[in-house]
Symmetry: C2
Subunit: 403 residues, 2 copies
């Protein structure tokens, strides 16, 4: 049989590694002939926009380049399938593509929206009597998928965040005057990535001195008190803050008492970091800067975690084996069996149980003051950021793969 694979949702550094894992495992199997890549996620399956991956990944050299290339080589999408009862059209279009290309298994690399697609599509196909298997391969820098110890892509994002925060700490500490540096890190609902910069403690850093997550309540007066307390101990106070901390309209509104809105009626021109920067400047009258790590958090492949890239390949390969063993409607998962030495095994879970849910950062790993994380979190994070891939460069720059 032939198989197809697609990538979905926001980019990461490891989503191409999972693609490589699927491709390589398929090459090893005598049961699989052609591996198709679907352009722009499920859209390519609906529209019949497939590429023969063997033409694109014709050498180990090409696969090596794919592994060091961030984002999604096959493109991505943000499309969620409607329920089949409401509108069977996209399902029928996917089935037509599956039949036309003789595809017996479809692999979808993505987050919880993609697992919704895996659950719905596999159920619809089974109901239609189709033998085609559908398997989800997790990915997200947010690390917020249920029933997996962690998600591919998170380890590289965490390594980037920790290494970059460490460099910002050096940068922020050079002058003899008091300063506050606020670093805004991705995570609208889950604080995993922001919390991960706590790993710097094992290398002797005291900063970031304060870490605020979406999982805890947030109050501006308490935030200012926290900074005042840290200023007694540190000249340069460094704060890590999730983009999704619950900053109330009231509190932020009072911070912007002149009523800042842009021409579109948006309350803020920028994110929470910039908002807190203005609050600190107004209330504490000290040098303050905010830094948004922005998309670099999810695409800095030059600083990827080797562990993450290897695991992403392994979980992709496992998905192929699961499909060949007859599984469908599943998402592959990591089950951690030990922290030191770190060990994981790969398992699977019903994709429907993962779809549309979020796994939050454990509140028991947050300190009593709700402004930092406990060492249990560090034990969890550390294994995920280990190892550096050897990056092939040309003209002093990493070489990227292009489909």
């Amino acid at each position: 049989m032939n198989i197809a694979v697609a990538q979905s949702g926001g980019p990461t550094c490891a989503i191409n590694a999972s693609l490589a894992g699927v491709f390589r495992e398929a090459l090893r199997s005598e049961k699989i002939e052609t591996v198709y890549g679907s352009r722009n996620g499920i859209e390519g399956m609906i529209g019949g926009n497939l590429v023969d991956l063997a033409e694109k990944l014709s050498s180990e050299d090409a696969i090596a380049l794919l592994l060091q290339t961030p984002s999604t080589a096959l493109g991505s999408c943000r499309r969620k399938l409607p329920s089949a009862e409401e509108d069977p059209t996209p399902y029928e279009a996917v089935l037509a593509t599956l039949q036309r290309y003789g595809i017996g298994a479809f692999f979808y690399i993505g987050g919880n929206d993609s697992m919704d697609t895996v659950a719905k599509l596999s159920a619809w196909l089974a109901q239609k009597g189709s033998p085609v298997r559908v398997i989800g391969i997790p990915k997200t820098i947010d690390n917020d998928l249920m029933y997996t110890d962690h998600t591919p892509g998170f380890g590289s994002a965490a390594k980037y965040v920790a290494a970059t925060v460490q460099e910002i700490i050096r940068d922020s500490s050079v002058y003899s005057l008091q300063s506050v540096t606020i670093i805004e890190i991705m995570g609208r609902h889950a604080g995993w990535l922001t919390a991960s910069c706590s790993v710097l403690r094992v290398n002797g850093e005291t900063a970031p001195h304060l870490i605020y997550l979406p999982e805890s309540p947030f109050s501006v007066p308490k935030f200012l008190d926290d900074i005042r307390n840290e200023q007694k101990k540190h000249k340069a106070v460094v704060v890590a803050v999730s983009e999704g901390i619950p900053l109330s309209e009231d509190e932020s509104g009072s911070a912007f008492s002149s009523g800042v809105t842009d021409p579109f009626g948006h309350k803020y021109l920028s994110g929470v970091g910039k908002c807190l920067e203005h609050i600190v400047r107004r209330e504490l009258h000290c040098k303050v800067r905010s830094i948004e790590l922005n998309v670099m958090q999810r695409c800095s492949s030059h600083l990827a975690s080797l562990t993450d890239l290897e695991e992403a390949q392994q979980i992709g390969a496992s998905a192929v084996r699961a499909a060949l063993a007859g599984e469908t409607g599943k998402m592959m998962t990591f089950c951690r069996t030990a922290d030191r030495p770190y060990a994981v095994r790969i398992d699977s879970v019903d994709a429907g149980s993962v779809a549309n849910k979020e796994r939050l950062f454990p509140t028991e790993w947050i300190n009593g003051e709700q402004n930092n994380v406990l060492s249990d979190a560090i034990d969890y994070f550390l294994p995920l950021i280990q190892g550096e891939p050897v990056i092939r460069t040309q003209n002093g720059l990493p070489v990227h793969f292009s489909v």
Copy 2:
């Protein structure tokens, strides 16, 4: 005799390499006994706050860590000396420190403000009959110092910018819909760093499709036309823009017609990238994102240019040799003798001729449309970003030196 060295101005990835260059060359000389580091630039010389560097850099291992640590290990300052006629107090304080510690030469690693200090201090000392020599060692990511082909720190910043812009290009190109990505790069008056991302062309990138520098006039209608033109050719248009492009109050004001000001009367809460983002969203009605590379441009040592780090050490060492040869009141310079193969020699120039001046990006390297740079610029940039240092890691993270 003893010598002293200090670091000043904004951090870079190479300013510690120049410190290492001074230290190592001093060790080699029989004429030099103790190498003092002055804390927080000239402030340490004024206040007598010196450290014996041999205690801090007691092994090759420590020096290797210093080389991979961004920012200024000795701290920095933004202090400019008054003219000695106005106020001789700081000069007399420096002289007292020089005498107390038996210092025969002082090395100041910094930008054009620091060269002002080198010129003034060396002249005042000479006038007082002091034999102490003062030598400036250039550094700035802005690359805007006169009479030197380039400045230490710039090559690493350019390598970071190019590699990161390349990753952002991958990130911005995944969806099937039209988008504009605006990347704001440091450079208030000089466009060198923004222009440097043009090197991506030699690796086959077509993006960034538009590059705007402070050296060219800027008009919002022309900017929007440029984007419309690029959108005919590219789904995801990527724009690199210097923080210092001359966006007139009128034009940006009309973009923010509701009159956005923060509680302090500042016109913009954010930089030019965010401002242009809002203009594009309003006028072109497409997906748009702005990204500020922020301080990461100057402190990402994990992505430093090996050429930059080696040259920074060499120019530091040359400064020591120049002082021993009797020079004073000079700044060391790079003179490029060839692009391919790249070759430079080190020379010196009167620090006073560098002080308080800026070397702008050559207008003859800007295209006729004033929205991109020509290939001459790429020939200039490429040698400066070559090579990657081997980074020592611990727990998956680069190890930093701490004084």
